[in-house]
């Protein structure tokens, strides 16, 4: 079990959200979009300047900035990835 922040994830890597750091508006907003612990996500890609990041969650597409992805800790299974 390896836990990294969403910013560190590579394209096409998937994992299960283990934790959202921080509360306040950002913490609530992220969760309201369905990015909650236990949800499975996959990194689809990144914008031309490497930010924001494009993710897939329950078959839906979401995008968030890297500084928001910093708050999202993801458990990436070792063998997943490319």
């Amino acid at each position: 079990m390896t836990i990294i922040s969403m910013r560190q994830m590579a394209a096409n890597q998937s994992g299960t959200i283990s934790r959202i750091k921080g509360g306040g508006e950002l913490g609530v907003r992220i969760r309201e979009m369905g990015i909650v612990p236990g949800a499975e996500i996959q990194i689809v890609g990144r914008a031309p300047l490497n930010d924001p990041v494009h993710i897939k969650l329950y078959g839906n597409n979401l995008t968030l900035r890297n500084n928001e992805a910093d708050h999202i800790m993801v458990d990436v299974a070792e063998e997943s990835g490319k």
Binding site: V28, P37, L49, L62, R65
Partner: protein, 769 residues
């Protein structure tokens, strides 16, 4: 109980859940648009009748939640709490049940009678998502109706259910209670207990809901307690602090986050019961399109191509309509011209009202088709991708990826219009980003500024025309972005709202949806602009006409005209009609010139001219004399006016004086003007403007008061200074008149400062003296 009482329903749902389609299906084409009380958020409502009952449908803003972080959410929440609609129709995207039910849950916690319109059932079916609607209804305690809003499937059922639910005897508010886990539930209980004996107004909101929201740190509930239950705070706060501390040590998380998580926990439990997923998502078409359109290398090029297409489409589609409208207003003008006797009323009608209304209506097709284009981009799902592609750049300047749309529409490529640009900012949820975007959008090179630029470029930059125009466009972008940054640092400081955004699946926009969307916005433009522009053009016309020239000065001009006319008459007497014709033609030219001189003198003497003169000490520092000042005053009404006013001030034949064409007296090769008369009406209009550009450019290029440096200064000033009045009116409607006034004053001051730097700096460097 009166049977005929109108049923009021609130239509709610996530963005992209199909709320707009459902609203249109429910109400047909008779939507009313207004604002929610006290805020500039648009409220749309409509009516329908079913089984003899009239139902009023209020379209709430699309939200993911009922927090009070964003204005949209606050508006939606305040509406249901204060207006207490009979029921909420909650549009839920069946393909995305988890997230959509999060909002549903909040209505249910509030206790509102809720009908769930389970939308996109067709798509869910094809994705292999089977939903047990009976079970869902049972577990949530709400009515559930499967529908397909785009095709209208299930609508009859929905209508029946709405009326039935509203008429049900037990249709009061019944909050559901979900468990947030033992620790939080206990705290909720204690907060409820304290609140129940307090001075808080509990008639509108359920007690438990208020307690939950208090623990979540909801800003509006905090405010309510501070203002109406101050005494309660010292007793509530320890409960919350203790719970938050407990959660930090046990689950290492913040209270509000944990509560959101627990709600999601409830939903995913529910989902496991009601959803039977027969197969996993196969690769969707939408994802395949994204693979191409969001490709890291090619995305910017596709984006530019789409924008180019938007412009091409707008100009191609609107051109004929603009032509018809121009012809119509020209016909109207000619009718007044020939049908009315000379006088001030005629001038007012011609120059003030027909010109003003013609300006607004003439722009409408361009705006309408621009909106058609924008609606297609929005409805197709590409707009959200645009935000994704460019956000990194715009964030650096304190803006949002979506700001790019407003700026491009506003003239990011020369020829846009700030009005649809300003209205396109509605997709921006963060008020600070939205205001900043609105304030800088008018800095772009909109279509109305172009003639001035073309004239100055023709006068002073003959050899580098294209280069200067491109440079100006780039300059506009730079200034807009830098200004946005300045605004976001000094005027609208603060972190931007979270960006996290949905990229909805690509969908084929429906013709009716796009047309309706475009029509609503265009109509709203015509209404806003129409009322303001007539008033403003009349005021500007009055300012440029009165006070009229003192009689003795007018008499001098009249005397000169009379003298020339006498010579003409005597020519005919002496040489006979035919012989005298060539001589008299030249003399007629002289009369024309004297009349133009008189017009110029009238303008100088008018209120606008006096303002222009009074501003000279200031304006000379940036290279403008009174003539330019008047033109700029006129430009407040509409930027197109700058060129024609400059023409009048320099005693050039304005486009609106057909007599000048016939006489063919213009400086330079006057013959061109008479050729024009033979061509089609709308071409004539264009050629008149071109002729004015050419003659004015010739005049200015040899005028010692002008220099390339002054020309650059004027171009920058026209680019940046106060937006035209229609834009100001639209800004006022969108974000309030305080910001509209700010835009007017700050933009003008900013333009002055920039020009001061350019002009004085340039002179110090020894340019253009």
């Amino acid at each position: 109980m009166s049977e005929k009482k109108q049923i009021v329903i609130a239509l709610a749902g996530n963005p992209n859940a199909g709320k707009t389609s459902l609203f249109n299906k429910l109400t047909g084409l008779r939507a009313h648009v207004g604002n929610y009380p006290g805020v500039t958020v648009e409220q749309k409502w409509g009516e329908f009748t079913h089984n003899g009952r009239t139902v009023k449908v209020v379209d709430l803003p699309g939200t993911y939640s009922l927090n009070s972080y964003s204005l949209d959410e606050r508006v939606a929440r305040d509406f249901v709490i204060n207006e207490r609609p009979d029921l909420v129709v909650n549009v839920v995207d069946a393909t995305n049940l988890e997230r959509n039910l999060y909002l549903t849950l909040q209505f249910l916690e509030l206790g509102l009678p809720t009908v769930i319109a389970l939308n996109m059932m067709d798509l869910a079916g094809s994705k292999g998502i089977n939903i047990d609607t009976g079970k869902l209804a049972q577990d949530l305690g709400a009515r559930v109706v499967p529908v397909v809003a785009t095709s209208g499937k299930g609508m009859e059922d929905l209508l029946n259910t709405i009326v039935e639910a509203a008429e049900a005897p037990s249709s009061g508010w019944k909050p559901i209670e979900i468990s947030y886990g033992q620790d939080i539930d206990e705290a909720i209980g204690r907060v409820e207990e304290l609140m129940s004996t307090s001075s808080l107004p509990l008639d509108k909101m359920p007690l438990r809901w208020l307690a939950v929201k208090y623990l979540e740190g909801d800003p509006a509930v905090d405010q309510l307690i501070t203002t109406q239950g101050q005494a309660l705070l010292p007793r509530l706060e320890p409960i919350k602090a203790k719970l938050a501390g407990h959660l930090r040590t046990t689950v290492d998380d913040e209270l509000e986050g944990v509560m959101t998580d627990r709600r999601y926990g409830f939903i995913s439990g529910l989902r496991r019961i009601v959803v039977n997923q027969t197969r996993q998502d196969t690769r969707e078409i939408s994802d395949t399109i994204d693979k191409v359109l969001l490709n890291r290398l090619f995305a910017p090029f596709f984006f530019l191509a789409v924008i180019y297409g938007l412009y091409q489409f707008t100009f191609w589609a609107s051109e004929p309509v603009v032509g018809w409208l121009e012809a119509f207003f020209e016909f109207l003008g000619e009718t007044v011209e020939s049908g009315m006797s000379e006088g001030l009323l005629k001038d007012l009608l011609l120059e003030g009202i027909i010109g003003g209304v013609g300006g607004v209506v003439g722009f409408a097709p361009l705006i309408a088709f621009m909106f058609v284009g924008i609606s297609i981009l929005e409805d197709s799902g590409y707009m959200a991708r645009v935000a994704f592609i460019v956000d990194r750049v715009f964030r650096a300047f304190g803006l949002h990826g979506n700001s790019v749309v407003a700026m491009i529409v506003g003239g990011g490529i020369a020829g846009g219009c700030a009005i649809p640009g300003v209205m396109a900012t509605r997709t921006l949820r963060d008020p600070k980003e939205r205001i900043a975007t609105i304030l800088v959008t008018p800095f772009m090179t909109c279509g109305a500024k172009l003639p001035v630029f073309l004239m100055l470029v023709a006068a002073f930059f003959q050899d580098n025309q294209a280069l200067v125009m491109v440079g100006l466009t780039i300059f506009a972008w730079l200034i807009a972005l830098i200004s946005a940054k300045i605004l976001r640092v000094f005027v609208l400081p603060g972190e931007s709202a979270p960006f996290v955004l949905e990229l909805p699946p690509y969908r084929m926009p429906t013709l009716s949806g796009v047309l309706l969307h475009a029509w609503e916005r265009t109509w709203s433009y015509i209404k806003k602009a129409g009322t303001v522009i007539v008033a403003i053009t009349i005021i500007i016309w009055l300012m440029m006409t009165f006070p009229s020239l003192p009689e003795e000065r007018q008499a001098v001009f009249d005397g000169r005209v009379a003298a020339v006319e006498e010579t003409m008459a005597s020519n005919i007497e002496t040489y006979g009609e035919e012989e005298a014709a060539p001589m008299n033609e030249e003399l007629a030219g002289q009369i024309e010139a004297i009349e133009l001189e008189a017009e110029s003198a009238t303008l100088r003497n008018s209120a606008a001219g006096r303002i222009g003169g009074a501003l000279e000490p200031l304006s000379q520092l940036i290279g403008f004399d009174w003539r330019t000042n008047i033109a700029l005053v006129g430009g407040f009404a509409a930027k197109e006016v700058v060129l024609s006013t400059l023409g009048t001030a320099y005693a050039m034949a304005p486009g609106a004086a057909p007599a000048a064409d016939e006489a063919g007296i213009e400086a330079g090769d006057g013959s061109a003007a008479s050729d024009v008369a033979a061509t089609a009406v709308e071409e004539e209009e264009e050629d008149e403007e071109e002729a004015l550009i050419r003659t004015l450019a010739e005049k200015l290029s040899v005028d010692p008061a002008w220099s390339p440096l002054a020309a650059i200064s004027l171009m920058v000033f026209v680019l940046i200074y106060a937006p035209c009045f229609v834009t100001i009116a639209v800004i006022g409607k969108e974000i309030g008149y305080k910001w509209a006034a700010f835009s007017l004053i700050a933009s003008t001051a900013w333009a002055y400062v920039l020009c001061l730097v350019i002009f004085q700096g340039g002179r110090m460097m020894g340019w253009g003296i």
